[in-house]
Symmetry: C3
Subunit: 332 residues, 3 copies
């Protein structure tokens, strides 16, 4: 018995329908039980039990957790092949895998799991109950809250991209030594990067979830409960307020503000500040409805050209005709 | 003697021309021999031998392999600085480098090379003749076929980006514990990420080649012999059928299907399903020819505005003139 | 005392204003001193000292360096938990951290710091005074100059994406064994990837700065003092000349040339060569001014449609009227 997708589920499995587009599959699933919300008239297969929930997606999340396989975490304790520098503080019941390097003065909270080959810099502070996956780099003096999950290859605290152009055209590096803070309950996807600023701080607010390969530049402030889908990029010193959602591959320019609860459509380029609650899309990002309507017309531009050309001909003919009449009238 | 580019080649080298735009360089190359297909009248330098091939690019591939430098693989056997958990099955003639961590119950096929600092999770199964480069993370229970190449920093099996929004605005994590399968003869570029779903599976079909920094979300099914260029992103539960090709920086939304043999132009945003064999481009992606024509007109929008304004003035003048005549006729 | 952002600075801190949009904050900062250029009439808070500079951004860079915290580099020498193969040449005063693997025949210059878990391939050559951060992969035979900074997770020398399609639809791998050169004073951001070509070389010119998650394909030549912002991608065999600047998420197609000193706006798709000194933006990239004007009109396409439809109606009415008159005239 397990939780399975509606088409893969076998007899004995639990499945779910949260997205209405999959409702018709209720009639044919082999699952023994289905977690559903409102089902709007689609009849499930007779032998299938319905587990009704006002929030089927959350019920599904809890069901998956119930049936999850055992943890793949390293055993409790510090692996003898880890390298722990002096003055490192290690909480109760941690798991620290082989080839983990922890720099001087760092601290690791209780029950935090550090997977093999992660690197934690000098003076970094990590809270309780975190999962720091393999090949994560937490650079020196970065502060990470509790219940934070950093997937494989995440880099927190690499130098921001800051240079001052010199008269000879070379780029003088502006040292990036200031603070980076990841608050509680943040999750960051594989190979995402969070940069360190020269002054001030880069901060990821509590409960924010960031997908794979996202780039957060130096000095960015990301609020609480923000969702950033894969391959999003946020340029330096920009503020993303609480509860913002951005779809994949979107970029936001530097020194702007995306207001609380705003949404940004996929692959957009946000080039100026966005009002709270707005929904913008496109390059440059404009209100989503306006973008949709304009996009529908974009592909019809060749037809517009023809219509404009036809109008020009018709107007020219009218003008000729009128000129001819006028000439005749003058003759009279 | 080596295989060299047509402009860098020296006396004694073999070079090639597969792309017709480089044909004119035949006249000046210093190479001693050139692999060519149809040469359409460009005369090579007299001292240069022509190695004719119906498929010069494939002949070039084989020539490069012939002259390749010796392997940089670690020596055969398991490095004493590797960490191998209990119940790991290791095939004949493997090479496992230093600081490689292999979790309990994993299996590694014959002649597979695991480069330094790669991490293989508990219960993962890897086939024969694979190359697992440094800093690759193969997470727990991932299944990898034979002759698979994973370049440095690839992450296979990190958690998909799945959360259920709660009434208080927080995001409940949906555990991502289901299957990830990489079939035979797949190659995945540096720092690309392949996510694990909550239910069902994420699958990369046999012979598919994926470039650097590509993101494949949870529950995506990628078919066989697919080519995905760098920085492509595929959102959750989407299906990419066999023989699809996508140019760089393209994104595909979730829950759609890109049909067999379809092509997607660079930096496109595929927002709905694509028919088999179609060639689409743009944001949103539309048929490539339509996108090209519309793009050519996009830059002329200011000129269109002027033409529409001019028409409006001319029509207004015609209307005035007619109104004036009508007034005079009524007077008469 | 430290260097701080203008809003965070406390009594005793030095701050700076390089971007004129922050000038009004001069009146309220609590900083004790401000590095400024021309201040155009905004009066600073009375107790605040002004440190005037013709180039405030460079002065700021130097001030930050003065007040930087101590280095987080590993101690001098080679950590006993590093794995150094035979015939490795190591310069004076290097720092090589734990779990660093260095392949046979590699060389590391004087005072270079290799952070924990970096991997340096056989035969690679690294210059003096470099910083090679954790989880960097420098593949076999790659050449890196002096004063180069590679941030965490950078991959230099992974295989380029080169395949020859076979008659049965499979993809024959073209071995990628040629040269990769990173010249002096280059900095490369976290998780960026620089590929190795089959023939010729991939080269990053002296003084070039590359941001996080950038992809440089095989055979690309990047000139000197180039700036590539985060998530840029450059396709194979393209040339980026000296002093080019590209904003984030831009892509450049293969086999083209971006001329000296050209600029490319954010999220552009450069599909053909760019003239030296040009400034292009968009998808496809066109001159920036043309793109801006066309983008402003794009969102007004629905209004254009209405104007064209209105014109069509008005012209039809005119035509009808004239036809009616003509009919009457003929009657007479």
């Amino acid at each position: 018995m397990r939780v399975a997708g509606i088409t893969q589920a076998q007899c004995g499995d639990v499945t779910f329908v949260a997205n209405p587009r999959y409702l018709p599959q209720l009639a044919t699933t082999r699952a023994s039980a289905v977690i559903v919300g409102a089902i709007n008239g689609v009849e499930p297969r007779p032998a299938c039990a319905l587990l009704r929930s006002e929030d089927p997606y959350s019920a599904f999340a809890r069901a998956v957790a119930l049936f999850a396989p055992g943890s793949a975490a390293p055993a409790r304790g510090v692996d003898p092949l880890a390298s722990i520098a002096r003055d490192v503080s290690i909480g109760a019941d941690v798991s620290i895998g082989p080839f983990v390097a922890i720099g001087a003065g760092a601290s690791i909270g209780a029950r935090t799991v550090v997977y093999p080959n992660a690197v934690i810099g000098a003076g970094a502070r990590i809270g309780d109950d975190c999962a720091i996956h393999s090949h994560v780099s937490i650079r020196e003096r970065v502060v990470v809250g509790s219940r934070v999950i950093l997937h494989d290859g995440v880099v927190v605290g690499g130098d921001g991209f800051g240079f001052a152009r010199q008269p000879d055209g070379t780029h003088l590096k502006i040292p990036q030594h200031a603070d980076v803070v990841i608050e509680d309950d943040v999750e960051i996807g594989a190979n995402a990067t969070i940069d360190r600023p020269a002054v001030g701080e880069t901060r990821i607010g509590a409960g924010t979830k960031i997908d794979n390969l996202v780039h957060i530049a130096h000095g960015v402030a990301v609020g609480r409960r923000v969702l950033l889908a894969a391959q999003v990029g946020i340029a330096g010193s920009t503020t993303i307020e609480d509860d913002v959602m951005m779809a994949g591959q979107t970029g936001v320019t530097g020194h702007v503000r995306v207001g609380r609860g705003a949404s940004v459509g996929a692959k957009s380029a946000v080039l100026q500040s966005v009002e709270p609650g707005a929904f913008v899309t496109g390059h440059p990002a404009i209100p989503h409805g306006a973008w949709r309507r304009a996009s529908m017309l974009f592909r019809r531009l060749p037809m517009f050209r023809k219509r404009v050309e036809a109008l020009e001909q018709r107007v020219a003919q009218l003008e000729e005709k009128l000129a001819a009449w006028q000439a005749r009238r003058t003759d009279r």
